[in-house]
């Protein structure tokens, strides 16, 4: 009997797979190794120590940048998710009408626009606004991050809403639930995993952003990524490796938590 086709049995499959995974994870692996180097070299490993984690934790600039990053990311992620949820409801819980597709496109277009273009545009607009109202605080950074997070938050929320069985909402209305109660007791509980995913995605995207932040930030408003970039231009020490490892652990933790949270719900 002929075996069914399986890509796994193709010649060279294993080699190809190993090459791909190596390309993906080997550099990260090297980065992690050198975070634990006791010397300040990024090419000679001399001994295991937590020296660079210590140094980073003692460095006031690192701490400040970290706090700022989390501040900006959490506020931006929450606002963006709220906006995206409303946008997703408005675009899925309606009868199709001319112009709806255009609105989808409008909501998703920022994903396709080169980030550098958005960055320059925001820089110009914000410098104007700063001149008019005199405010120079962190608000601009938060506003910019919120703006580019919306389409990312929108994706999982809309997907969740589109896959939801509409007769559930019809059934709620049939059982005396007003529009608000239908949303509160049926739509929202079923939408939670999508909202959480949107929140996480925008948080991580914001935390990670360099280009727009670099353009929009004022002096003394470094986030963790822009601080690290600045460091690399001067002297490279395993301190950046240590910070990267912490960020890596943080994102793995968030994704794991989310995975188990959404598993328990279903």
């Amino acid at each position: 009997m002929a075996k069914p086709f399986s890509v796994k049995r193709q010649r060279g499959f294993t080699a190809m797979a190993i090459a791909c995974f190596a390309a993906l994870y080997l550099p990260i692996f090297v980065l992690v190794i050198f975070a634990f180097n006791s010397a300040s070299s990024l090419s000679h490993f001399e001994g295991v120590s937590l020296r660079w984690f210590h140094e980073a934790a003692q460095n006031k600039q690192v701490v400040d940048a970290t706090l700022r990053s989390f501040h900006v990311a959490s506020v931006a992620a929450v606002i963006a998710t709220l906006v995206a949820t409303m946008a997703a409801l408005a675009t899925t819980r309606t009868r199709p009408y001319p112009g709806l597709t255009f609105k989808y496109a409008l909501l998703n277009a920022p994903l396709m626009i080169p980030e550098i273009v958005t960055a320059v545009a925001l820089l110009i607009v914000f410098s104007q606004v700063k001149g008019w109202i005199g405010y120079t605080g962190i608000g601009y950074l938060i506003a910019a991050h919120t703006a580019f997070c919306v389409p990312f938050a929108y994706l999982p929320i809309r997907a969740r809403l589109e896959n939801m069985d509409l007769t559930l909402e019809t059934a709620a209305a049939d059982l005396y639930a007003t529009r608000w109660n239908t949303f509160r007791y049926v739509t929202l509980p079923l939408l939670w995993p999508g909202i959480l995913a949107g929140l996480m995605l925008s948080f991580v995207i914001s935390l990670d952003d360099v280009v727009i932040t670099e353009f929009v930030k004022s002096a003394g408003q470094d986030t963790l990524p822009t601080y690290m970039l600045g460091q690399l231009r001067r002297s490279i020490t395993p301190e950046v490796n240590a910070i990267s490892v912490v960020l890596l652990l943080f994102s793995v933790l968030v994704v794991t938590l989310f995975f188990f949270a959404s598993k328990r719900r279903n």
Binding site: D165, T167, A171, D174, L175, Y176, A177, N181, V186, L190
Partner: protein, 364 residues
């Protein structure tokens, strides 16, 4: 008897401009209190659309829907004391069986005590007490069906709507649920409006049936009325098997017309609204006709060639090819002695029981 639901000249047109589609066309039905009423018709005839308008998920383009005399055509669904059992059940997946059943009552603002008391009562009615704490994904299809029913009955609606609720169940479970539904309708005294495209289901369960086709109601009546006196050819064909004969009315005496068939034989049939000389269609149910030996005696009406004999256990079907080319089917109950004494290919006569032939309304 009082009217529970009145449907007055209701139409529903979907689409706009030049791509409109009339799903329901000027329908008039009066459904009585405490009645098991069935909407029966082929796929796409507008049954669901009509039901959705009664529930409030769809609004009529034209006409009135009355609930105990009050026009509710524009009332949103959550204000109507009408509940629905959905075809796919539509149970809330994030709630337990008990929470599903209590949902309507909670939305009506009933007290916790009242809700839980009623939920227990409902669980008992549908025999699901041991499953109260289960997730809806952890129960079988038949059990989900019961929960959907309990959830819709819990708020004690004036009218219960059921859209093909049994179509997803296997044959045996379906038969069981048919009886259960009848029992529950009897126990609760709620008006049931039931949608199906299964004529057997409609005949066995309903007090009255409305037969629909292409958005229109063709006939409303008891299962007996509809089976015995179909209003037109469509109804006759849709409900059970039927033989059609064509001929011309020769004589009318009281309620009985004598019709000359195309084959040359005469048959008497009950008639209403026809005159001498009219071309008419006559319907004869297979169980009201019999195949008899050729030198026919008495009631034999027409002759043909026996083409096929199909044995069904309880009865036997005889397919007879008539001279005009059509096939006439008779269904005869099997008795111990009745071995098939007619050979396939032989000439036979068909005898129709007295009063069994019926003339369709002229033009139908």
């Amino acid at each position: 008897m009082n009217e529970a639901i009145g449907i007055r000249d209701v139409s529903k047109v979907f689409g706009q401009g030049d791509t409109t589609f009339t799903a329901v066309a000027r329908v008039n039905i009066s459904i009585r209190e405490n009645e098991f009423f069935t909407l029966l018709g082929p796929s796409g005839c507008g049954k669901t659309t009509l039901l959705r308008m009664i529930a409030g998920f769809e609004f009529p383009t034209d006409g009135e829907i009355l609930l105990h005399g009050e026009n509710i055509a524009d009332m949103p669904p959550f204000r109507r004391p009408i509940n629905t059992v959905f075809q796919n059940y539509a149970l809330f997946p994030h709630m337990t069986v008990a929470d599903n059943i209590g949902f309507g009552l909670r939305m009506l603002g009933k007290s916790k005590a009242e809700v839980s008391e009623r939920v227990i009562e409902m669980l008992r009615l549908v025999k699901m007490e041991p499953m109260a704490g289960r997730r809806t994904s952890e129960i079988s299809g038949g059990q989900q069906q019961r929960v959907a029913l309990a959830r819709a009955l819990a708020p004690q609606p004036k009218v219960l709507l059921l859209d093909e609720p049994l179509s997803a169940l296997d044959y045996k479970l379906r038969k069981e649920m048919q009886l259960e539904l009848k029992r529950m309708q009897h126990e609760t005294g709620i008006t049931f409006i039931f949608v199906t495209h299964d004529q057997e289901e409609a005949l066995t369960m309903s007090d009255r049936i409305a037969v629909m086709s292409k958005g229109q109601v063709l006939q409303v009546g008891s299962p007996r009325d509809i089976y015995d006196a179909p209003a037109d050819r469509f109804v006759a064909e849709f409900i059970g098997e039927t033989n059609f004969l064509t001929g011309r009315v020769r004589k009318i005496a009281e309620e009985t017309a004598e019709v000359m068939l195309e084959g040359g034989a005469a048959i008497s049939a009950t008639a209403a609204g026809v005159g001498v000389g009219d071309d008419v269609t006559i319907v004869v149910r297979p169980e009201h006709a019999e195949v008899v030996a050729v030198p026919a005696t008495g009631s034999a009406v027409t002759k043909g060639t026996l083409e096929n004999v199909v044995y069904f256990g309880t009865d036997t079907h005889f397919h007879v090819r008539l001279p005009d080319g059509s096939v006439f089917v008779t269904r005869q109950q099997n008795r111990p002695r009745l071995s098939s004494e007619f050979a396939v290919g032989s000439e036979v006569s068909i005898a129709v029981a007295a009063d069994a032939a019926r003339i369709l309304r002229a033009g139908a």
